[in-house]
């Protein structure tokens, strides 16, 4: 195949080594990671408590559901014009795109896992003298946690695709910007370096999430096998 359509592996490695040596690639990786983490954590901080409240208190669910139904079909990319208008093209706008693309998934996973907590366990806790707050702390939260974490893992990959979209459209740095610059300059090797970095970083993030998951859910090791 002609190197115009697909550069040789040696070219890609050379391009990667050069970007690494200049330090620019690490900055790009770090910038994307930072945007993902901030937007993702913000989404979790809003959606997890909201989801739990919606799952246990019907009026909250009734109030928020219409907004969820309206916002859910919108891919995060559709928020780019508005967020640029409101927030410019700086960090806040990237974070907002990650947030908009992530929070609803976290919310839906949280509601679903909270509702699935075995009612028999709630009954047992009350029978042992637990009041509402204790039922929440000792039964509903730990019972919903595995489902919430599973949802966070799925959403983390979605958050990454959000940040890349945002960076391709308007950004000075980040892995999405690397790919777009490679395209603009006709440097296909750089495009492939960017793609490879995304694969590796998302893979590592997933591994790290897996380790965290095992630490947070020590009892799941036994129930899963």
């Amino acid at each position: 195949m002609s190197p115009v359509f697909l550069p040789k592996p040696g070219r890609v490695l050379g391009e990667g080594a050069a970007s690494l040596a200049s330090g620019q690639l690490l900055i790009d990786i770090w910038m994307s990671t930072q945007r993902v983490l901030l937007g993702f954590m913000l989404a979790g901080a809003v959606a997890i408590p909201l989801g739990i409240v919606m799952a246990v208190w019907a009026p909250a669910k009734a109030a928020v559901d219409p907004f969820v139904s309206l916002l859910r079909p919108l891919p995060s990319i559709t928020w780019i014009p508005l967020t640029m208008l409101w927030l410019g093209i700086g960090e806040a706008q990237k974070i907002a795109i990650v947030f908009m693309g992530s929070w609803i998934y976290i919310l839906l996973y949280t509601i679903e896992s909270t509702k699935r907590v075995d009612p028999l366990l709630i009954r047992a806790a009350r029978n042992l003298g637990a009041r509402d707050l204790h039922v929440m702390l000792h039964v509903i939260l730990p019972g919903a946690l595995p489902g919430i974490i599973a949802g966070l893992k799925v959403t983390l990959a979605i958050s990454w695709s959000c940040v890349l979209t945002a960076e391709m459209i308007a950004a000075q740095n980040g892995l999405g910007a690397v790919i777009w610059q490679g395209k603009d300059w006709g440097n296909l090797a750089l495009v492939l370096v960017g793609m490879l970095c995304i694969s590796i970083v998302v893979l590592l993030a997933d591994k790290a999430a897996g380790v965290l998951e095992r630490l947070m859910l020590p009892w799941e090791r036994h129930t899963r096998n």
């Binding site: 637990a130 009892w219 036994h222 129930t223």
Partner: protein, 264 residues
């Protein structure tokens, strides 16, 4: 002396569909005395669990009332502790965490919780398993944890809903003996549901034989077989005689019930 638990003209109707309802328990009255080991014996679907759930306060009677020491039970009642057939252990808590739960709810300090939990874990022969999660234990061990968890919470009455039904026959035998030993030591009042005549004969001081749906009391049998009811008692003529008496009472109910379509 006034009874610990009492059911007075209790009727429970479940709504099963738009215009359908199911009479689960029909005008039931009985009393349970202090320290008694009462078995509710009946075919499945005779309303045994419904009665137990009313004593625990999980559900309310449609009419009549259930009383704990002469006071109506109107909400979930921690003084009537329940042992569930499916254990209902908290999977995210260790054996120790599960056993300590009731003590934590009472606001005991960490040191006190540890100490008391250790005693009950010892009582059900689970020493060495404190840090294990329920999923690591066999069914029999899990049911022991639920018993320790409930005893630690110190309810007045133990309500047991076919607690050993999911266990294999040999484990069940061992668990029955342990339960008797624990009950003797703690002096707790026990209401125990079973559909096994042998289990009722081995455990109870009194047996309420229930009719098939709707639940009514068909007979009350005082079980004065000598204790402990080891295998020697279980093959004695007295045991056989009592067993056939009970079976005669139950047989027609089982046959009647098995001819009816299931309610759901």
């Amino acid at each position: 002396m006034s009874p610990v638990l009492a059911a007075r003209n209790v009727t429970k109707v479940f709504t099963t569909g738009k215009d359908q309802s199911l009479l689960a328990v029909d005008n039931l009255s009985f009393e349970i005395g202090d320290g008694e080991f009462l078995c509710l014996l009946g075919a499945s679907g005779c309303g045994k669990s419904t009665i137990l759930n009313m004593f625990a306060g999980f559900i309310q009677p449609t009419s009549g009332e259930v009383l704990l020491r002469d006071k109506p039970i109107v909400d979930i009642e921690p003084r009537c502790g329940m042992i569930f057939q499916s254990y209902a252990l908290f999977p995210w808590k260790t054996v120790r965490g599960n056993v300590e739960f009731g003590l934590l709810m009472k606001g005991l300090s960490r040191a006190e919780r540890r100490e008391r939990a250790a005693a009950f874990i010892e009582m059900v022969n689970l020493r060495g398993f404190e840090e294990h999660y329920p999923a690591e234990l066999s069914g029999g061990m899990q049911q022991r944890v639920t018993i320790a968890r409930l005893l630690a919470a110190d309810p007045e009455v133990l309500l047991m809903d076919e607690p050993f039904a999911a266990l294999d026959a040999m484990t069940r035998q061992v668990m029955q003996e342990e339960l008797l030993r624990i009950q003797e030591r703690s002096g707790k009042t026990v209401v125990f549901i079973t559909h096994s005549i042998d289990e009722a004969l081995i455990l109870s001081s009194r047996i309420l034989v229930m009719s098939a749906r709707p639940g009514r009391i068909k007979a009350v049998i005082t079980n004065d077989l000598s204790t402990p009811r080891h295998i020697a008692v279980q093959v004695s003529p007295e045991y056989g005689k009592l067993k056939s008496t009970v079976w005669d009472l139950i047989e027609s109910e089982v046959r009647r019930h098995s001819m009816e379509p299931a309610p759901n």
